[in-house]
């Protein structure tokens, strides 16, 4: 049987995705059969499906880490496994498990009793895993769509809330528009070169100069699609509205998990297509500067906590894109370092936001900056963690965020981007203002009129928040682990 030999190694390489996909089907069957069974009296299985999903993600993590084959490509080169994809998958899985833990309290309080929510989350994670491994525009587009469709549903999941449905519709319309641009770029590339594979495309672009301008147009369209998904500046309009309107458990996901997978795809596309011309570094740099300006100045006017964090996310994407535009080993590894730091800090930060609850119980999606008032008196431990997180996001020295920013700026200076680096450092000073303003309202303002109630932390939430707090503080003293991982990712991209 030639067939069985030929696919022996394929199965090993796609085993994590295969396992996750089968578990999604299993969870769907479990949920629909048990929750509608008369003999069990129609039980609520959302929590059980959530915990089973966490178990499935842990097992997927084990399969990713203990893959017998370190690298390889399967299915005619559309799916690759290498150092980059392995580490990126580990970080996606770990951050998703963290997100599920910190949003568990919110899910319980606001009674998200549909087990489908967790199935949709699992599909989003599956899409990201495939996206990280994709080495062909066909797989990349399909994986991106799986992830995006799951996200549209997650944004609109609170059906009885007008904000949530509005967020879902906005996300869907704008997201499908950006997917169209991406698909148009891919179709142009296919028209010129007759292939959608990254490695073959890079060879063709390297060899021939016939279609260089046309390939640049195609890459520009693809870049717009990807920058949209990253919420980088000229294409960022959707992100604050979606973050604000979506239920908090979905917002946590949008904020923390998908950045790394889309960034991996951006690097793969950039490495395949854009090394032949310099203009794409400039395009990404322009987007980076726009993101930093928007993220610094627009955030100053924000009153809502979720919108503020969305704009601060745009700001961080600006720093990331500065690293992407240089595309050296040093800058790529510093981008991944920044992503890890952002992910860790984001887990603690959003964990704290998820326990905020106003006394009139309108829900955490209306939390404003004023709601943080007198946090130091109500819950001093949380206040300290919040302050440390915000200092880390701002990039203040004895914390992990400082190293992340330092790496990006250092690689920018080494590549000779002196003016741009100093400009972005100046705007980062401005962005420090609103982080410190949050700390000010948590520590020095006490609004006794609207006393905010902090929901008691569940063990899972407390564990995630404490662990990420520990990482924020102690990875500064020994960032070797993150350095090694990010360097491994960068090296596997360039070799």
């Amino acid at each position: 049987m030639i067939f069985s030999y030929a696919f022996e190694n394929n199965i090993k390489l796609v085993l994590p995705e295969l396992f996750l996909c089968s578990s999604i089907i299993g969870l769907l069957f479990f949920g629909s059969f048990v929750s509608l069974s008369r003999s069990y009296r129609y039980p609520l299985v959302a929590t059980n499906v959530g915990y089973l999903l966490i178990l499935a993600l842990l097992l997927t993590l084990v399969l990713v880490i203990h893959n017998p084959l370190a690298s390889g490509s399967v299915f005619n080169g559309v799916f690759v496994v290498d150092g980059l994809s392995t580490v990126a998958k580990i970080s996606v899985l770990v951050s998703s498990i963290g997100c599920l833990f910190i949003s568990s309290g919110y899910v319980k309080t606001y009674q998200i009793n549909n087990f489908e929510y967790f199935v949709i989350v699992a599909l989003a994670i599956f899409g990201q895993l495939v996206l990280i491994s994709s080495a062909d525009f066909l797989t990349a587009y399909l994986a991106l769509e799986i992830q995006s469709f799951a996200f549209y549903l997650m944004a609109a999941f609170k059906r009885d809330s007008a904000y949530s449905t509005e967020a879902g519709l906005k996300y869907f319309l704008l997201g499908s528009f950006s997917s169209t641009l991406l698909l148009f770029g891919v179709s142009l590339l296919y028209g010129f070169f007759g292939t959608t594979n990254f490695s073959i495309l890079s060879l063709l672009l390297f060899e021939s100069t016939d279609f260089k301008t046309l390939a640049d147009i195609a890459f520009f369209l693809i870049l717009i699609g990807l920058l949209f998904k990253l919420a980088a500046a000229p294409f960022h309009i959707w992100s604050p509205d979606v973050y604000e309107g979506a239920p908090l458990n979905s917002t946590i996901f949008f904020a923390i998990v998908p950045k790394i997978s889309i960034m991996v795809l951006l690097f793969r596309v950039y490495g395949a297509l854009a090394t032949s011309s310099d203009i794409w570094g400039v395009a990404i740099l322009v987007s980076s500067i726009c993101s930093v300006i928007v993220g610094s100045f627009v955030t100053l006017k924000q009153k809502r906590l979720k919108k503020l964090l969305a704009y601060s996310g745009i700001n961080h994407v600006g720093y990331l894109l500065l690293g992407v535009s240089m595309f050296t080993v040093e800058s790529v590894s510093s981008v991944f370092f920044y992503l890890f730091a952002y992910m860790i800090t984001g887990l603690a930060m959003w964990g704290i936001v998820s326990v905020l609850k106003r006394a009139d119980s309108v829900g955490a999606h209306t939390a404003t900056i004023a709601d943080l008032g007198a946090m130091v008196k109500v819950n001093p431990t949380l206040a300290i963690i919040l302050a440390i997180c915000l200092f880390s996001l701002a990039g203040v020295p004895p914390l992990i965020g400082f190293y992340a920013k330092l790496g990006i700026f250092q690689s920018a200076l080494n590549s000779g981007f002196f003016t741009i680096a100093s400009f972005i450092i100046l705007t980062s000073v401005i962005s420090t203002f609103y982080y410190i303003r949050l700390i000010k309202s948590a520590y020095f303002e006490s609004s006794y009129k609207e006393w905010v109630f902090y929901a008691p932390l569940s063990a899972a939430q407390a564990t995630v928040i404490t662990l990420s707090f520990f990482a924020i503080v102690f990875l500064f003293y020994d960032p070797l682990l993150l350095n090694l991982l990010s360097y491994k990712m960068a090296m596997s991209l360039f070799l």
């Binding site: 089907i25 769907l28 069957f29 629909s32």
Partner: protein
Amino acid sequence: MTPFFHAYAPILIVFVLSVVLSLVIFGFSYLLAFQRPDVEKLSAYECGFDPYEDARNSFDVKFYLIAILFVVFDLETMFLFPWGVSLSSINAHGFWIMIDFLFELIVGYIYVWKIGGLDW
């Protein structure tokens, strides 16, 4: 005869035939049939709705659900036909990939059935 014409001639023939056939059917039914118009017959048929009312009225989401399910399984057939035609020239890999596709659609179908999406 250029290769271009060879390649696209069947499409041209089908296009012309379909235009002619639709004109014949439409024209003869207009010319030969008895015309006895009334209000109900002349109004456009729009799935049982009044076609000229405000578009913002709410209607039952079940219509939408049925339409979506129809599209999904209609597309399944669209993939099945080329697969069935080319089955003799694709190997076991191609065969099992389609079986996997069908399996995943059946999973969705069972879910929809179980959750009551097919009940009216």
